[in-house]
């Protein structure tokens, strides 16, 4: 990396994987990481949107898959780690709201809860586990490794009507905290962050009557999450950029 008068690009060469990368917060993260010179792979369910997003952001690696499906996890992990040559950062962002419109728990179909748990809790667990070897390898060679799980204030506060989503995010939040304790010795940090109420398709599904002007922009939240990731990475790895 050249220094001189150019502003330093601490994220250049970082290998980042993002789930749910074609809309809302995921797309904002993808844009900002790509802009910062990171190598980014993203996954989403819709093949057409994956292709279009990858085309609009040349150099990014788009793969089609659904983290809620067990049989998609290893193909996704293979494509992500293969195309990036390893993984330094995993962002479990893809989320499922549960019943739409939101419903009281007593009116929530079991299938809606199962889907929310599969996308918001089991999917991140499985994908993190499949990529744990890659993350640990990054940590071992000094690049650092971070898993960021996108949480919600609904993971902490029992909002009526948000039962499926809130329970699944609460599970993810606690999973993150335990994993962070267990993996810190390996040099892997696991973060759980609430990006706030944003103007995204998911929020529009949940609260259709919300005034978009009252909501945060996904770009603003993405900026905060990226700062949290950068802080959790060892500084020498950031300065060295790509050293694989």
């Amino acid at each position: 990396m050249k220094h001189g008068n150019r502003p330093q690009r601490p994220l250049a060469g970082l290998r980042v994987a993002i789930t749910g990368g074609t809309s809302g917060l995921g797309l904002a993260l993808l844009n900002q990481f790509a802009e910062a010179g990171a190598a980014v792979a993203f996954i989403a369910r819709d093949a057409e949107r994956v292709a279009r997003t990858a085309q609009e952001l040349p150099g990014t690696h788009g793969f089609v898959g659904d983290v809620a499906k067990k049989d998609d996890i290893y193909p996704l992990a293979t494509a992500i780690a293969g195309s990036l040559g390893g993984v330094d950062v995993l962002i479990n962002n893809a989320s499922d709201l549960g019943p739409v419109p939101l419903a009281l728990l007593a009116d929530t179909d079991c299938e809606d809860l199962e889907r929310a748990l599969a996308t918001n809790l089991l999917g991140p667990f499985r994908l993190t586990k499949a990529l744990l070897g890659a993350l640990a390898a990054s940590a071992r060679i000094g690049r650092g490794a971070v898993v960021l799980n996108v949480s919600s204030d609904a993971a902490i506060t029992p909002y009526p009507g948000w039962g499926a989503y809130g329970a699944s995010k609460a599970g993810l939040h606690h999973l993150s905290r335990i994993w962070n304790e267990e993996l810190s010795e390996l040099g892997i940090r696991v973060l759980s962050r609430d990006p706030g109420d944003m103007d995204t398709p998911l929020h529009a599904l949940a609260v259709p009557e919300a005034d978009p002007a009252s909501l945060r922009s996904p770009a603003e939240s993405a900026q905060e999450l990226i700062s949290a990731i950068a802080e959790a990475l060892p500084q020498p790895a950031l300065l060295a950029g790509s050293t694989a």
Partner: protein, 356 residues
């Protein structure tokens, strides 16, 4: 008699471990005692290659005949270097048939097109055997990664009771998808064991080596194994080796692929970090420059994996170990029992007692 392990369990609770120490003494132990064999200051090195779904079902378009391709070689581990592979081709059949019984593929010629699920490939060359080809995929690197990941299956074994799922073929530490068959000596590792190593003062490091096909079922091809295998050794691993050697620790290379990569990278004298392609064969006469001990699976006499063990100990000791393995019916293959072989160190000749 050795018995084939037929369940895809990576860490069976009753797994056995035959140890041969540096004086040639043979002992039977439980593999759960593995950590006890290591001393503070030792360095354990594993191959962290994830296993590619290297078996591709498809059709040879000129004849419309079904084929199974098993990817078997690649020039480097760079993410974009994914177009060209060598591959072993089988005719019709599936994982239940022993490879020895699989028919030849249709006669293959350079230029032939192969339809492999979402991928298409062209035969570039026949590599001096009707089953062995070089091929090129016709797509962008990302489309090839996606196609392999979606359509490929782990290479299967007829001795198993059920087909392997991808997760059966990845070690716990699987990193870069690079191996054609699992670096299965690494199945012994889980995160709890790595934690126990740390607590004991044993260091851990990795390299990534494209472990190749272990057997093709064809004697002429098997005689050419192992094929060339690309690898990458991180600078941090070389530094850890130098540190351990300086401080008198042993270098314990988990499996034949780690030995092959380390000894290839050290062939010029000093061990070099970075990329390489292992073309070496390790056997009876190979001087070992890096590895002091090898935990490995149980292999049958005559296989390239077994022959590699002869670099660690003289024939009579290797023979005694093989006899002990057979006597207690150790289980062979990927999900079988293990051996732990220390490099033989002849006892110092006793000095004649000083005349009084």
């Amino acid at each position: 008699m050795l018995a084939a392990a037929d369940e895809p369990v990576q860490r069976p609770k009753d797994a056995k471990l035959l140890t041969v120490d540096s004086a040639g003494r043979v002992r039977h132990r439980l593999r759960s005692d593995f950590v006890d064999l290591l001393q503070p200051g030792d360095l354990l090195i594993a191959n962290d290659a994830a296993t590619l779904p290297a078996s591709l079902a498809g059709v040879h378009l000129p004849t419309a005949a079904p084929v199974e391709l098993r990817l078997a070689g690649r020039a480097s581990l760079r993410p974009s270097d994914i177009h060209r592979f060598s591959a072993v081709v089988f005719g019709n059949g599936d994982w239940r048939s022993r490879t020895e019984d699989r028919p030849l593929p249709p006669l293959l010629s350079p230029g032939d097109q192969l339809a492999l699920g979402p991928l298409s490939a062209k035969v570039e060359a026949i590599l001096a055997h009707p089953r062995l080809i070089r091929l090129t995929f016709d797509a962008s690197p990302d489309a090839i990664w996606a196609g392999l990941a979606r359509h490929g299956r782990p290479i299967q074994y007829a001795h198993l009771s059920a087909p392997l799922a991808p997760w059966d073929s990845w070690t716990r530490i699987a990193n870069l998808p690079a191996a054609f068959e699992p670096p299965s000596a690494g199945f012994v590792l889980d995160w709890r064991l790595l934690g126990a190593l740390g607590a004991r003062g044993v260091c851990f490091a990795t390299l990534t080596h494209a472990a190749g096909i272990s057997s093709t079922g064809d004697p002429a091809l098997d005689a050419r194994l192992p094929f060339d295998e690309p690898y990458v050794i991180p600078a941090a691993t070389v530094a850890a080796i130098e540190r351990a050697k300086e401080e008198g620790g042993c270098i314990i290379a988990i499996g034949t692929t780690v030995v092959r990569a380390l000894e290839h990278a050290a062939a010029g004298g000093a061990l070099c970090a970075g990329e390489g392609v292992a073309t070496n064969r390790i056997g009876r006469d190979t001087p070992l420059r890096v590895a002091d001990a090898i935990p490995s699976g149980v292999h049958e006499v005559g296989t390239s994996h077994f022959e590699l063990l002869r670099a660690f100990a003289p024939d009579d000791i290797v023979q005694a170990a093989d006899h002990a393995l057979n006597l207690l019916r150790y289980r062979t293959h990927e999900f079988g029992d293990s051996v732990f072989l220390e490099r033989f160190r002849p006892p110092l000749t006793e000095l004649p007692s000083r005349p009084v």
